[in-house]
């Protein structure tokens, strides 16, 4: 014990919970206080991320800052929303009791924040209030008597402009001042009824009546921008332009660095394997580990691109507007207005798409969006579609000018979308029966995103993907290598080595199950390494049919070979299979990380495989009957 200690905090870390309404600059304050000293993990059993940051005060208090999801009250409707409440009341298992609540308010919109402060005071915790966005408030003409507000609330109030790091030093000094004397009183919180919430409203009105010396002007510029952005015609056109840019960025631009990385990985892999010819270790290193790590890092350009878009759209305030415009369309399928961003990204790849579902706060809406995102036709399906379409669909013209092959390709995209919406509807009713949540959305006034904040936020999803989904993907890639390498081919073998491996064995074993949908054992076997990534299926087919060569040449000869060994019905069934089937381990791994449970990836896998089997069966049988 330190001599000057009053029995309260000295050496011990101070645990501070950061609470506030959405859009009040909470993340900016978190970044301003902790800088790069942040750690992201998962809470057990929920999809919310646990964001911790650290800082040391001038008086050497080590503080742990816990960033809690933005909220308007402590009431909770789902396990995710319960986190805030559980942490504040120390009812959360993997979290120690907190010592202080830091509540952040938007200075241009105090009433919503003050009601939260009043509610938090019932928890009995010492509270600090940061009135944020003071720069905007001043410019708009808001004047508050902050010392009177301190008296009214009975706690310290610090003006801040977190995005410009104004008021942060003061805030940290106040933490030093209050910590030695702060003590917890009795928790008298209970979920407020509609009467109590009205009571809070009345109290806040009284307080504001005293402390608000001058009302600010309306955000004229913001309102004027909204006249265009939310316009029934221009608004939709602008939204389509933004979506088109996003699609371009993820689909076309980020593919350039992605292809470069893929080439490097392939070269390195080749190099390693050729350096140790015939050696198992070389094969493990090259085809297992390097291929595995490569499979992870190639997603980075897309994840960074989509994240950059999302951060800019969020920080500027456009995201909420887009959700407003899309609400009716998405709502028809039971989806949240914000689901269009993840779903659109899923056309490039479901991995960044699933990560983008973080923009949806509501847990059920988020889970449904995650579940259907693999049905959006991702770019990795293109190689196998191209191969099969060029091999089996005649290059005819329909109605004189439409290419039949292009039409089939479009049909595949279209089928994916239709079934995604259909499944969204089914999931809403099956898993979340009757939970029709009212959707009330705040459209904050427009703000210019700050570069530094954008950069800090940009590396977070990339880091969490590399660290957490990456480990699963690499391990699975190594398992797949093992399955396609062992047992090794006998020395007198005539068939390709993979046919003697577990992949070959399992392929032959499973063949009877897939016979009703027209798949030969070679197809089934190729589907297994194809789990690593959909585009791998092409080279896997090549390996199994004992072809080798450069990718384009391989595709050429494979196309000819397949025409001779498969019927059209089989080809159509396989294409259908790829529309629906869970042919991508990385997607499942990311779904696991993002939902923080195996339940949802298992549901995803099961419904996809069921859907794929049924649809392929229908297509195969129909094709057999009419062709």
């Amino acid at each position: 014990m330190q001599p000057h200690s009053t029995g309260i905090k000295t050496d011990k870390t101070i645990k501070i919970a950061l609470v506030g309404n959405p859009n009040c600059g909470k993340t900016a304050l978190f970044n301003a206080l902790t800088g790069s000293k942040q750690r992201v993990a998962n809470y057990a059993g929920v999809t919310v991320e646990k964001k911790h940051g650290y800082f040391i005060t001038p008086k050497h208090h080590t503080c742990t800052l816990i960033d809690l999801p933005g909220t308007y009250s402590l009431r909770s409707r789902s396990p995710d929303e319960k986190i805030t409440r559980d942490i504040i009341f120390g009812e959360f298992n993997d979290e120690a009791q907190i010592d202080l609540v830091l509540c952040i308010l938007d200075a241009t919109n105090l009433s919503n924040g003050l009601r939260l402060v009043l509610e938090l005071q019932k928890s009995g915790h010492p509270i600090l209030v940061a009135i944020n966005m003071m720069d905007i408030a001043k410019r708009k003409g808001y004047i508050y008597d902050l010392s009177l507000l301190e008296q009214e609330l009975g706690c310290r109030v610090i003006p801040t402009t977190a995005i410009k790091k104004v008021g942060i030093t003061k805030l940290v000094n106040v933490i030093d001042e209050v910590m030695p004397i702060a003590s917890k009183s009795i928790n008298s919180w209970s979920e407020s009824s509609i009467y109590e919430t009205r009571e809070y409203h009345a109290q806040v009105a009284q307080i504001l009546n005293k402390v608000k010396l001058s009302e600010g002007a309306l955000p004229k510029v913001s309102d004027r921008i909204d006249q265009v952005i939310l316009h029934p015609v221009w608004g939709i056109l602008i939204l389509l332009t933004v979506l088109f840019l996003l699609f371009q960025a993820v689909f076309t631009w980020s593919v350039i660095p992605q292809n470069m990385m893929q080439d490097w990985v392939a070269k390195l892999q080749e190099h390693v394997v050729s350096m140790m010819p015939g050696s198992l270790f070389g094969s493990l290193l090259g085809n297992g580990i390097i291929a595995g790590v490569g499979a992870v890092v190639v997603f980075l350009p897309q994840i960074l691109t989509i994240s950059l878009f999302i951060i800019l759209l969020e920080d500027s305030g456009y995201m909420a507007r887009a959700a407003f415009l899309m609400d009716k369309f998405m709502g028809a399928a039971g989806l949240h207005g914000r689901a269009f961003i993840p779903l659109l990204s899923s056309f490039a790849c479901a991995i960044p798409g699933i990560m983008a579902t973080r923009v949806i706060e509501n847990r059920r809406d988020r889970l449904v969006t995650i579940l259907i995102s693999p049905l959006m036709t991702c770019s990795a399906r293109l190689p196998i579609y191209t191969l099969l379409i060029s091999a089996f669909i005649p290059a005819k013209k329909v109605l004189g000018w439409l290419s039949l092959q292009g039409l089939v390709m479009f049909g595949l995209y279209f089928t994916g979308i239709v079934f995604a919406l259909l499944m969204a509807f089914v999931f809403k009713h099956f898993f979340f029966k009757g939970e029709r949540q009212p959707s009330i959305l705040e459209l904050p006034s427009y703000k210019l995103p700050m570069l530094k904040n954008v950069l800090i936020e940009l590396i977070k999803p990339a880091k969490s993907f590399l660290k957490r989904a990456g480990t699963i993907i690499v391990s699975i890639m190594i398992i797949l290598w093992f399955l396609s390498t062992f047992p090794q081919a006998p020395s007198h073998a005539t068939d390709p080595a993979i046919n003697y491996s577990f992949v070959g064995i399992v392929g032959k074993f499973l063949a009877p199950f897939f016979a009703p949908i027209g798949f030969s054992w070679q197809i089934v076997a190729a589907l297994i390494p194809g789990m690593a990534a959909r585009e791998v299926a092409v080279s896997a087919l090549g390996t199994i049919y004992a072809l080798s060569g450069e990718e384009d040449a391989l595709r050429q000869s494979l196309s000819v070979l397949l025409q001779h060994s498969w019927t059209l019905a089989t080809a159509l069934a396989l294409i259908t299979w790829y529309v629906f089937a869970p042919q991508c381990i990385s997607t499942l791994a990311v779904a696991k990380r993002e939902t923080n449970s195996w339940k949802w990836p298992i549901i995803m896998f099961s419904y996809q495989i069921l859907l794929a089997y049924i649809m392929s069966f229908i297509v195969y049988r129909t094709a057999l009957a009419i062709l």
Binding site: N23, Y72, S73, R75, R77, D106, T108, N109, S111, N112, R115, I136, K140, S192, S193, I194, T197, R198, H201, E215, G216, L218, P219, S222, D223, D226, L230, P232, G235, I236, A320, F324, L325, D327, K328, G331, K433, G434, E435, R436, Q437, P438, S439, I440, L441, E442, L443, P444, S445
Partner: protein
């Protein structure tokens, strides 16, 4: 002019909230009693507050975006929930 529900208003209309009452809405299965009313209250809707209808959705005027008092932000809600908010139109 008597009280009118928010979902019946046009763009640019202003009024004072006279009553927030979710019991006038059709029953929402799966939602606890008082849930919609609580949400509306938490987002800043309260009897006596001034509302301005800022924007209406393209299809069927849904959703509805309103400004509460002088707030810097705008609140958007669906027509269904807006039916619980009664106003005296100015």
């Amino acid at each position: 002019m008597g009280a009118i529900a928010l979902d019946k208003l046009n763009k640019g209309d202003r009024g004072i909230i006279t009553k927030i009452d979710e019991t006038v809405l059709p029953q929402s299965p799966g939602l606890a009693k008082g849930e919609i009313e609580s949400r509306l209250l938490e987002m800043g809707f309260i009897e006596g507050a001034r509302l301005t209808v800022m924007h209406l959705g393209m299809i069927n005027h849904d959703p509805i975006a309103v400004r509460i008092n002088n707030s810097s932000s705008i609140i958007a809600l669906r027509k269904n929930e807006a039916g619980a908010i009664m106003l005296e139109v100015a």
